[in-house]
C-alpha cells in the first residue's frame, strides 16, 4: 500500500506571507493577484481572522462526501491521500459542491464547458516524490507535507512542546478524518472552523441508511403490491363469474316465461 500523505498547517506559525497562494497560482498558470476566497483560479487562499491567518484548502477527507455524492464517480480518494477529480467523467451537476461539508469545490461559471476546480494536493508532484508547491514555498514551516502518521505525531509534538497550542488537531477525526490537518493557538471555532456536521462520523454515513433501506423497501413493497394485485384479480374473476351466471340464469328464466 502506498504511503498515505498529508499536509499539516500550523496557524500559530503562519505569517500570512501568501507564498503558498502565489506558488499555487504560479504552478497552475493563474493570474498571480491574490483573491479573497477560494475560486476556480485560487485553490488555496490565506484568510485573515483577527491577527491570525487561516489557509483555506481542500481537506482531502479520508472518506469524502463529494466522492460519495458524485453520480458518475468522477471524484475519488487516491491511496496516496489526495481526493482527485476526473474531468473526463464529470457531467457538471455540482452535487459535490452541495455535499462538501467545507464548501470547497468551485465551478467555472463563466465557461461554456465548465468544470469543477479544487486542490489536488499536487498529486502529480507527490507521485514523483516532490512535495506540493504550497508547502515547498512556505518559509515558516507553517505548511508541512509528509506522511499522515508522521505529521500527526509532529502535530502532537508541537502541541506538547508549546502550551499555547489548543490541544486539538482539526482534521484528525473531523468527519472521519482528513489529509489536511490544522493546529492552532486560538480555539478553532473562533477562526471560523465549523465542527463537522457529523462529528467524527464520515459524511457518507448520512445517506448510507436511506440508500441501504431501498432493497428492503423494494422487496417488501413488491411482495405486498403483488399480493394485493392477486387479491384484486381473484375478486374480479369471482365477480365476473357471478355476473355471467346471473346473466345465464336470467336468459333461462326469460326463455321459460316465453313458451
Amino acid at each position: 500500500m502506498a504511503r498515505r500523505t498529508a499536509m499539516l498547517i500550523d496557524i500559530k506559525r503562519c505569517i500570512g506571507c501568501l507564498s503558498c497562494e502565489t506558488a499555487c497560482k504560479q504552478l497552475h498558470g493563474f493570474s498571480p493577484d491574490p483573491e479573497p476566497t477560494l475560486s476556480d483560479t485560487a485553490f488555496t487562499v490565506v484568510e485573515t481572522r483577527g491577527d491570525k491567518f487561516v489557509r483555506k484548502i481542500c481537506m482531502h477527507c479520508e472518506n469524502p462526501a463529494c466522492a460519495s455524492a458524485c453520480p458518475v464517480g468522477a471524484i475519488s480518494k487516491s491511496a496516496l491521500g489526495p481526493v482527485l477529480y476526473n474531468a473526463d467523467k464529470c457531467i457538471g451537476c455540482r452535487y459535490c459542491m452541495l455535499a462538501c461539508p467545507y464548501s470547497v469545490p468551485r465551478y467555472q461559471w463563466t465557461k461554456l464547458a465548465p468544470y469543477v476546480k479544487k486542490c489536488d494536493l499536487c498529486s502529480e508532484r507527490i507521485k514523483a516524490g516532490v512535495q506540493p508547491a504550497c508547502s515547498e514555498a512556505c518559509p515558516a514551516q507553517a505548511s508541512v507535507f509528509g506522511s499522515r502518521d508522521e505529521l500527526i505525531a509532529e502535530a502532537w509534538n508541537r502541541i506538547r512542546a508549546d502550551s499555547s497550542y489548543v490541544p486539538h488537531i482539526y482534521g484528525l477525526e473531523e468527519a472521519g478524518g482528513s489529509c489536511v490537518l490544522f493546529v492552532s493557538d486560538v480555539p478553532f471555532e473562533k477562526l471560523g472552523f465549523k465542527p463537522a456536521p457529523t462529528g467524527n462520523q464520515p459524511m457518507p454515513t448520512l445517506t448510507a441508511s436511506a440508500l441501504g433501506d431501498s432493497p428492503k423497501v423494494v422487496i417488501m413493497g413488491g411482495t405486498v403490491l403483488s399480493a394485493l394485485y392477486w387479491v384484486t384479480q381473484r375478486r374480479r374473476e369471482v365477480a365476473l363469474a357471478e355476473a355471467e351466471e346471473k346473466a345465464t340464469l336470467n336468459k333461462i328464466k326469460r326463455e321459460r316465461s316465453q313458451p
Binding site: 458518475v72 455535499a99 465548465p114 468544470y115 463537522a196 445517506t207 448510507a208 440508500l211 365477480a239 365476473l240
Partner: protein, 393 residues
C-alpha cells in the same frame, strides 16, 4: 382583415408568445453564452431554481401517475379508471420537462448519458438519475397505447396492444416501486448537506417527507388539469371521482402533516419556527398553504362537491407544495452558505418555457387522443372495465 387578425389575438395567446420569446432567449443565453449570463448561481448556491422548480416540483407534481395506476391496476379501484390516462399523461409530460430541464442544469449537457454507464452506487443523485430514466421509459410504455390505437394499421395495432397488455401489470408494478424510490430520493439528495440545510427542513427522514408530500400534491395537480380540461376541452368526467380525489388529498395531507409535526418535534426543531428569521416566515407560509388551509377547506362538503372550489383548494395544495420544495432547495440553504440567492429572470423564463411546452402538449393530447371521455360521444367501453359486467352484477 385587420379585424380578423385582431380577434385572433387573445390575452392567453399573448402570454404564450411572451413565454416562448423570453424562454427561447433564455435558452440561447444558457447554451451559447453560459451560466454566468443566464443564472445567478454561484459557488455558494450551486443549485437554484432549475433544481428547485424544474426537478423537485416537476417530479413531485408528476406523482399522480404512479398513484392512480397503482390504485386502478394493482388495487382494483376501478372507480378511478376514467382519470387513469390523464394522470399518466401528466406524469409522462412532467418527466419529459424534467429530462429537458436536466440538460439546462448540468454544465456539460452533451454528457447527459454518463450516469447510464458510469455508476456510483453510493450517490443518491445517481439513483435519482437512473430511477428517473427508467421510470420515464415506464411512463412512455404506459402511455403508448393512447398513440398506438390511433395508428391506421389494424393488424399492427392489435398485435402490439396484445403484447402490451400481457406485460402491463409487471411494468406498472416496477413503475410504482421506481417512483416510490426516486420520489423519496429527491429528498435524500439533501441528506448529505447536513449543517447546510436549515433545521426546520433537515431531518434524517427527509426522503420520507418528500415521498409523503408528493402524492397528495401530484393528485391535486391532476384534479386541476382535469377540471381545466372539462372547462375548455370538451371532455366530461364524473365529478364524483374528482370529489373523491379531494377527500383522498385531504387524507394524504393529514398523514403528511402528522409525520411532519412529529419529525420536527423529534429533531427539536420547533424552537426555530418561532424565531424572527426569514426561514421561520417561509416555514409558516409552507405550513399554511400545504397543510392548514387545504386540510380545513377540503373538510367542507361544499368545497369538495363544487368543481370551482375544489379546483382552488387543489391550487393551494400545489402552491404550498412548490413553496416546500423551494424552501428545501433554496431558502433552507442561504443562511449556512452565507449568500442571498434571487433567481435571474432567465432561470425562471427557461423553466416556464419548458413547463408551458408540457401544458400545450397536454392540451393537444387531450384534443386528439382518447385521454379523457369526450363529452359529445357515447362513452367507449374502454372507460368501463370488462364491458361493465362487474358493475351490473
Amino acid at each position: 382583415m385587420i379585424a380578423r387578425i385582431r380577434s385572433e389575438i387573445t390575452l392567453w395567446r399573448v402570454i404564450v408568445a411572451i413565454i416562448f420569446v423570453t424562454g427561447i432567449y433564455a435558452t440561447y443565453l444558457r447554451f451559447l453564452v453560459g451560466f454566468r449570463a443566464s443564472t445567478n448561481l454561484s459557488d455558494q448556491m450551486p443549485w437554484g431554481l432549475w433544481v428547485g422548480l424544474g426537478t423537485l416540483c416537476g417530479i413531485g407534481l408528476s406523482a399522480a401517475g404512479f398513484g392512480i395506476s397503482a390504485a386502478v391496476y394493482l388495487l382494483g379501484m376501478e372507480r378511478y379508471r376514467p382519470i387513469l390516462r390523464a394522470s399518466i399523461l401528466i406524469s409522462f409530460l412532467g418527466y419529459m420537462t424534467v429530462c429537458v430541464g436536466y440538460l439546462y442544469e448540468i454544465g456539460l449537457p452533451w454528457r447527459f448519458w454518463h450516469p447510464i454507464v458510469m455508476w456510483n452506487h453510493t450517490s443518491v443523485l445517481f439513483d435519482v438519475c437512473v430511477c428517473i430514466m427508467t421510470y420515464t421509459a415506464v411512463l412512455t410504455f404506459e402511455f403508448a397505447p393512447a398513440v398506438i390505437e390511433k395508428l391506421p394499421w389494424k393488424r399492427f395495432r392489435e398485435t402490439v396492444l396484445q403484447y402490451h397488455h400481457k406485460i402491463l401489470i409487471g411494468v406498472v408494478l416496477a413503475g410504482v416501486l421506481l417512483s416510490s424510490m426516486h420520489q423519496s430520493y429527491l429528498g435524500g439528495l439533501y441528506l448529505i448537506a447536513r449543517g447546510k440545510v436549515h433545521p426546520l427542513w433537515y431531518s434524517q427522514y427527509m426522503h420520507a417527507m418528500f415521498y409523503l408530500s408528493a402524492i397528495p400534491a401530484g393528485l391535486a395537480l391532476t384534479v386541476m388539469a382535469i377540471y381545466l380540461s372539462m372547462r375548455s376541452l370538451n371532455v366530461r368526467v364524473d365529478f364524483g371521482i374528482l370529489s373523491d380525489c379531494g377527500r383522498l388529498i385531504q387524507l394524504l395531507l393529514i398523514v403528511f402533516a402528522f409525520f411532519r409535526v412529529l419529525d420536527l418535534a423529534a429533531n427539536q426543531a420547533w424552537g426555530y419556527a418561532f424565531q424572527r428569521t426569514s426561514e421561520a416566515g417561509y416555514f409558516w407560509l409552507e405550513m399554511m398553504l400545504l397543510l392548514a388551509i387545504p386540510i380545513s377547506l377540503l373538510s367542507y362538503e361544499h368545497v369538495r362537491t363544487n368543481p370551482e372550489r375544489l379546483y382552488w383548494a387543489c391550487a393551494i395544495v400545489v402552491a404550498g407544495f412548490m413553496v416546500n420544495r423551494l424552501n428545501v432547495s433554496i431558502n433552507a440553504l442561504q443562511a449556512a452558505m452565507g449568500t442571498h440567492y434571487v433567481p435571474k429572470w432567465t432561470e425562471l423564463a427557461s423553466s416556464v418555457l419548458v413547463i408551458a411546452a408540457g401544458v400545450m402538449a397536454f392540451r393537444y393530447a387531450v384534443i386528439y387522443l382518447d385521454i379523457l371521455p369526450k363529452a359529445t360521444s357515447k362513452p367507449l367501453s374502454r372507460w368501463i372495465s370488462n364491458g361493465g359486467l362487474p358493475a351490473q352484477a
